[in-house]
């Protein structure tokens, strides 16, 4: 599929307004692994013919890592600047590729004047499946594969989104297995609260290694992720366990794209 990614600036110049803004996020923009997921989300949007656009270079960090780390000044500076940009384009609806962006824009921007309908890409995929616009055909078969889903904290506990990502997996006719700690009891990957940007404090184990132990315990061949930071932590964990041949870490969007041969 040849990817055409429209920006808000282009759209506005043509006098068009997209139905939905795709908020890519910093990881989705710069992290090599996450960039691929970003392109996959675009493929899905393009495939179903949903009119969308991205902010491109006009996008900036939501301020999430600053806020979790205690830098409320920086967070609010980022938030207010972003709200100006979003409101400037009269954005009403946003889909994000990251649970952290999702949580921040959805819950913390309204108090600063930014009111949008915000969904996470797993929710969009679920909606598209429900509407019959997305299926699991024409691509790689996941039939009978053991897949487990890792709940990102800011999607699961943070915002009670547990079913949408699972729905995207159920359509694959796979063997969906749950880890011991799942859903509201899910174990963090270790990246949240700005841990992604620092060395872990002194301890006897890294959190992602603890998580991969559970993946191994359920014998999963695929760990489905829905967050670019979880993706990094889980991939590193799998590598450190020398299991990268047996266990694949894939985002919900990647799995969807593969299953549909996009």
């Amino acid at each position: 599929m040849e990817l055409k990614v429209p920006t808000m600036a282009q759209m506005a110049a043509e006098g068009k307004q997209p139905e939905i803004l795709f908020w890519v996020g910093c990881a989705g923009s710069f992290d090599e692994r996450a960039q691929k997921i970003t392109r996959d989300i675009c493929k899905i949007l393009q495939h179903v013919g949903l009119s969308y656009a991205v902010l491109g270079t006009e996008e900036s960090c939501t301020g999430d890592p600053a806020k979790r780390a205690g830098n409320e000044f920086l967070f609010q500076m980022q938030a207010m600047t972003n709200i100006q940009v979003l409101d400037g384009y009269h954005i009403k609806k946003i889909v994000t590729g990251c649970p952290h962006c999702f949580n921040t824009i959805r819950n913390e921007y309204p108090g600063l004047g930014g009111n949008y309908e915000v969904i996470h890409h797993s929710q969009l995929i679920q909606q598209l499946i429900d509407e019959g616009k997305l299926k699991a055909e024409g691509g790689e078969s996941f039939k009978g594969k053991r897949i487990t889903y890792h709940d990102p904290c800011y999607l699961g506990r943070g915002n009670n989104v547990y079913e949408a990502p699972r729905k995207a997996l159920e359509i694959l006719d796979t063997e969906l297995v749950e880890m011991k700690r799942c859903k509201s009891n899910g174990l963090c990957c270790g990246a949240g609260g700005a841990q992604m940007f620092k060395e872990p404090e002194k301890g006897d184990k890294d959190i992602n290694m603890e998580r991969i132990d559970e993946v191994i315990a359920v014998n999963a061949q695929v760990v489905a992720a829905a967050c670019p930071f979880c993706m990094t932590m889980l991939s590193d964990g799998v590598k450190n366990h020398n299991k990268d041949q047996e266990i694949k870490v894939l985002d919900i969007a990647e799995i969807t794209v593969r299953a549909n041969g996009l």
């Binding site: 960039q35 600063l112 872990p200």
Partner: protein, 435 residues
Amino acid sequence: MIAQILFIVVLTAAVYLFSKNAGKIRRNILLGREVNRSDRRAERWLVMAKVALGQTKMTRRPVAALMHFFIYVGFIIINLEVLEIMIDGIFGSHRIFSKPLGSLYGLLIGGFEVLAVLVLVACVVFLARRNILRLKRFSGTEMTEWPRSDANYILVIEICLMAAFLTMNAADYKLQALHFGHYIKAGSFPVSSLIAPALSSNPGTLAVTERACWWFHIIGILAFLNYLPYSKHFHILLAFPNTWYSNLEPKGEFTNMASVTNEVKAMLDPSFAPESNGETARFGAKDVTDLTWKNLMEAYTCTECGRCTAVCPANITGKLLSPRKIMMDTRDRITEVGINLDKHGNDYNDGKTLLDDYITREELWACTTCNACVEACPVNINPLEIITEMRRYVVMEESQAPASLNNMFGNVENNGAPWKYSNADRFNWADGDGQ
């Protein structure tokens, strides 16, 4: 008559002392910063009914949930019996409810006895879990001698109270059979009738036993009431208001600091004039009085069950952080602040703070803000909010964030991303190989 006077004196003293100490806790809680938790009342009643009254969050650990349920129901229902004891004590009557309640009375007393046994069993199981099985959840750095003893005292006191209650009934049952004095036929004794054969058959001794147990039971309850303010057991009272005042927003949402909003607006728009309330509070929390009253109420509500710490990813992987310790430290410190206030007045500064003297920076920086502790708490306590407030102080007042986080802040500020990439490259992903 002397017994009645003595009873009234003891009761009045116990209630007075408890009110005084509970009042101090109330005052300490109100030393916290203001936060509005009185909106959406209908929803709040529902949360309280579900979480505190219905104990819905206990069920994640079924054994503990069942045992706790016995003690909880026992506690609430046996209070009806305490009401009778109070009235009997004040008016010198004996089993005053037996006549007006008729056959229902027998059913009630019988029910109380069954509950008393269940409470006894649960307390013994709980003691065994703490002292023989030594469940990991009940250990940890913060579980020092006092918290461990506190837990054991509570269980032993409850066992003693229930034993006294059953022995009292057993003596009463025997005296009733002997048609002795004022011991009229009242109540049914499915459990104590089994203990009765072990007691003396001398009516005089039985009457002394019955009275001794009656006094021990009621004085025990009053003493226990006065132990509450010093104990983790205070949760039996505060669990209700604490859940009523729960945070009703999604857990992922952190508060936006209004004081910062004003400054940021002024920075972005020089013509902006903030509504000043004349207060220059510090950013974030260095000491307990920088926290909200709800944070402090939560500290007094915590019963140190350790469900938070058991699910904390940092703690599981051997880091210093334990959410339970955050709550216990907060309680210890606000108690200390309260004592200082009583002893030395308002202007006294003991030179100590929650940060550093109680909670170290290493603990604060180990948190992944994953909300597992918040989710796990059976009474909706939020240790994460305290951690965040303290991080805010360390970052915004002291500029003492770890160097790597300062780099991240710099990147966000300058490049709009937490990494050192140029904003101009932000859209390069679209030129990828499209695979």
